[in-house]
Amino acid sequence: MSAVPLQPPRRLIEMTVDGQEVRVPEGATVLDACAAAGKDIPTLCHGDTLTPKNACRVCVVEVEGSRTLAPACSRRAEPGMVVGTATERARHSRKVVLELLASSTDLSTTPRAAEWIGEYGARPDRFGPEAATVAQPPKVDNDLYVRDYAKCILCYKCVDACGEQWQNTFAIAVAGRGFDAVISTEHDAPLTDSACVYCGNCVEVCPTGALSFKSEFDMRAAGEWDEPRQTQTTTICSYCGVGCNLTLHVQDNRIVKVSSPHDNPVTRGNLCIKGRFGYQHVQNVGPSDG
């Protein structure tokens, strides 16, 4: 048995991206086609281990013959499609989407947000100081991870990872409507009273840092979080026989966070509470260390 499942050969689709001919396998998305053409399209709600909800709309591109712009992350590539990634309309919508997000949400820990804001010339401050935001205090209700919804862009990834796409736990869902919509447990109960099993698979897919390890949250608060100083070591979890790969993020010889490679055929980035959070025994070596 091979570790990487063999797939039946797929037909290739020909289309153009920004005037350039590209070929992608049938079933690929427009985003895949853009990548094949070497285009770097921003994405937020798209994740490599999930089917996206195409809610953020930062990846929109112009598809010839389509009345509205299309989300590259979700639109299937079709033969003969003519895609423009850098048309004025597409760039305009991306710019405004970035402005709308950055003016309402704290994007300070969203990777690449600042870079895209610069690239598109977005000015989030143009909506004025009175612009409504989703600012709120972080929810620190357990020892393992923190939910800081002031940073949440409502990408639905955590809900999908917790629910039907991975974990089947359904501890969280989107509640409320419109600008007041939030990710929530039932009745906004603390996680400790919810169905949460602390697999941390929501943390793994969160694109903004709204969900983070408590260790990371505390170190950031203390000004000690320093990613360039961290090393990442991938190893195999020793708790059970499944053989999940763990990537240990280590700063100053302490494990500060655990992730799992998204392309690992065993985990696809997912772990259980033991692999994700059960690392303390590694560093609690003696009484002097407590």
């Binding site: 809610a55 709309r57 299937r76 709308l100 997000l101 909506f127 409507r177 919509a181 169905a195």
Partner: protein, 629 residues
């Protein structure tokens, strides 16, 4: 799935309300009393889960009985249907008619939307606040209630063993007494009491909303006021069910052909050719097929579907049966907005009566065709009228639109090929079959065939639903409605998602192509006349507020864009000097363009239409306008 519950107990009343919808719990695993037997096996919950689509009816049952949904009640519903509590909470909090906090059994919904605003709703709101205190649990401002011919209107919903509803309107029959500000006096409070009338009176009959009722030559409104809406015999005596008989003679493909040839296009707003939709669905190999009749009617200023359902309910039952027959469906869902208690009552009566006479059921009219209709109630969410959001709502999920493709005819309700049609669209079908496609298409214009219903409201002498052949001009229509009262300032065509038309453009033919030519739209048939006394900036703010409230929140351009649009309009309407408006106008345009281009569904895509047309066509906020209109 390993569900965790909160161990909050439902009250006996809550339990009874839920059991009345779902039946008694089959075992301890689904919330019943635990028996010895239950401990010997674990139920996987598949059967319960297959009934997920009963989540919304079960939530309604609790809300109808108690007035709000407690933790114990929600927990019990979740156990009964094996739904994760977090998901059920997400669904319950999506709908504005549900409350998850205690509140009085009786709640008054006071319409403060466009048509009511044009007839003194602001004064009514102030009057109600004076009588009942600030808005909160016992009364609240409401989006359009679809009672626009009775504007300003309100609806009281009262929970109980037998839930009650009362409709008020017009709440200030004398517009001057309602404190309607005179020209120029934008926000002057009226002297004296605002004269809000809160006495409960019997609701006028449906034909009250149809000034043409009883006249010759009507097609769609022919029976309204002429038949007893409860009587199937009346309906049959007036030609009812002749079209279904004709459909059986034509066969499904023959019916689709007639509808194609008639040129009928959807009346729900998107104007898609009905025959093409039916043909596409009928030809799909995967089964079952479903029919969904969209009676969510929540576009502000729209009330035509209500009038049909209240005044001629069997027409819709027959039309749905024909549509189901033509497209290979054996089940149709009729989704009626929650704010239409009388339409719900009349339609459920009509469905039951038709069933008892063999006009629905296993063998319709003895023709060997099985078809039945299930009525579902919305719970206060405009977005559930969107053709894919309605599927999620029926299936027991949050009423969020799905992304297309796949289209409903490919993968719709429960993932199956589905035909979604508006009420008015469907009731055009029996006349098409009876007159023949050719004769039907002879009415109207080449691009817009047949008769059309318009919902005329605002500053006209006789507001109501009017039927005219396509091609009549806006002037004709306003004339039918007794002409405008006061000096006309603008007409809003198509509702909140529509566009404003100037007084100089009244000769526009009311056709899809005619309105398109002047950059407007027919939308759902809203014709809202605004006179000079109306504060246009206030109307725009209300439109923006409507979209902000009704956005499902799924996609960023709409969720945040509608908020930024409202904020900018708010600044513009407060600004003393129009000189510094340029920045906000540019901002509106940029955000509007992104909402139009990048939103998932029609709500976000059209949320800037009316505001744009007011700025561009009416010159609202332009320096020449002087002070903001």
């Amino acid at each position: 799935m390993d569900l965790r519950f909160r161990d909050a107990e439902p009250s006996a009343e809550e339990r009874a309300a839920v059991d009345a919808v779902l039946g008694p719990p089959p075992s301890g695993w689904e919330g019943g009393a635990r028996t010895e037997e239950d401990l010997r096996f674990a139920s996987g919950g598949h059967e319960a889960r297959d009934r997920r689509d009963l989540l919304l009816p079960a939530l309604h049952a609790v809300n109808d009985r108690i007035g709000w949904i407690s933790q114990g009640a929600l927990d019990y519903v979740c156990r009964r249907l094996t739904v994760p509590p977090a998901e059920a909470y997400g669904v319950a909090t999506f709908y504005s008619l549900f409350s998850l906090k205690p509140r009085p059994t009786r709640v008054l919904h006071v319409c403060t939307d466009l048509a009511c605003r044009a007839r003194g709703a602001e004064a009514v709101r102030r009057g109600v606040a004076e009588a009942l205190g600030p808005p909160g649990a016992s009364w609240r401002p409401s989006p359009c209630l679809g009672l626009c011919e009775r504007a300003p209107a309100a609806l009281a919903l009262e929970a109980g063993e037998v839930p009650k509803a009362a409709v008020y309107g017009p709440m200030a029959p004398d517009r001057e007494a309602a404190g309607r500000p005179g020209p120029g006096a934008a926000d002057d409070a009226p002297a004296g009491p605002p004269g809000v009338d809160l006495t409960e009176r019997p609701e006028p009959p449906a034909e009250h909303a149809v000034p043409q009722a009883g006249r010759d030559g009507l097609v769609l409104l022919r029976r309204v006021g002429r038949v007893d809406p409860a009587s199937l015999d009346d309906y049959r005596a007036e030609g009812g069910y002749a079209a279904l008989r004709r459909a059986f003679a034509l066969g499904p493909a023959g019916v689709v052909r007639e509808v194609l040839d008639s040129g009928l296009v959807g009346r729900g707003g998107a104007a898609f050719p009905t025959g093409r939709k039916w043909e596409a669905a009928a030809g799909r190999p995967d089964h079952p097929h479903y029919l969904v009749c969209n009676a969510d009617e929540s576009e502000p200023g729209t009330f035509k579907d209500r009038v049909i359902m209240e005044g001629d309910p069997y027409a819709l039952v027959e039309a749905m049966t024909i549509a189901g027959y033509a497209t290979g469906c054996h089940r149709g869902y009729l989704y009626i907005r929650g704010e239409y208690p009388r339409a719900v009552r009349r339609m459920s009566h009509a469905i039951a009566a038709a069933r008892s006479r063999g006009l629905l059921g296993d063998d319709v009219m003895g023709q060997g065709y099985a078809f039945d209709i299930e009525l579902r109630r919305g719970a206060g969410a405009y977005i559930c009228g969107e053709e894919t959001a309605i599927f999620n709502s029926i299936e027991g999920y949050r009423g969020e639109p799905r992304s297309k493709p796949p289209f409903p005819v490919e993968k719709g309700l429960f993932g199956k090929p589905t035909v979604v049609n508006n009420v008015e669209t469907l009731v055009n079908v029996p006349p098409i079959l009876l007159a023949g496609a050719g004769a039907y298409a002879a009415t109207g214009t080449a691009g817009s065939t047949g008769p059309k219903l318009f919902c005329v409201s605002g500053a006209v002498a006789r507001p109501g639903v009017y039927e005219v052949p396509f091609g009549a001009t806006l002037r004709d229509l306003l004339g039918l409605a007794g002409g405008t009262t006061g000096t006309l300032r603008a007409v809003l065509l198509g509702g909140a998602a529509g566009a404003f038309v100037r007084p100089g453009e009244l000769d526009v033919p009311l056709t899809f192509e005619g309105t398109r030519a002047i950059g407007a739209t027919l939308g759902s048939g809203v014709v809202l006349a605004l006179d000079e006394s109306v504060d246009l900036a206030g109307i725009l703010l209300r439109i923006a507020g409507f979209f902000r409230d009704e956005s499902c929140g799924q996609c960023v351009p709409c969720r945040v864009g509608t908020v930024r649009q409202e904020e900018a309009l708010h600044r513009l309407s407060l600004r003393p000097a129009p000189g510094d408006a340029a920045g906000d106008l540019a901002l509106l345009r940029e955000v509007g363009q992104a909402m139009r281009d990048a939103s998932i569904c029609g709500l976000g895509q059209t949320a800037w239409n009316a505001v744009e047309s007011a700025i561009d066509r009416l010159g609202v906020f332009s320096p020449r306008e002087g002070s903001p209109a």
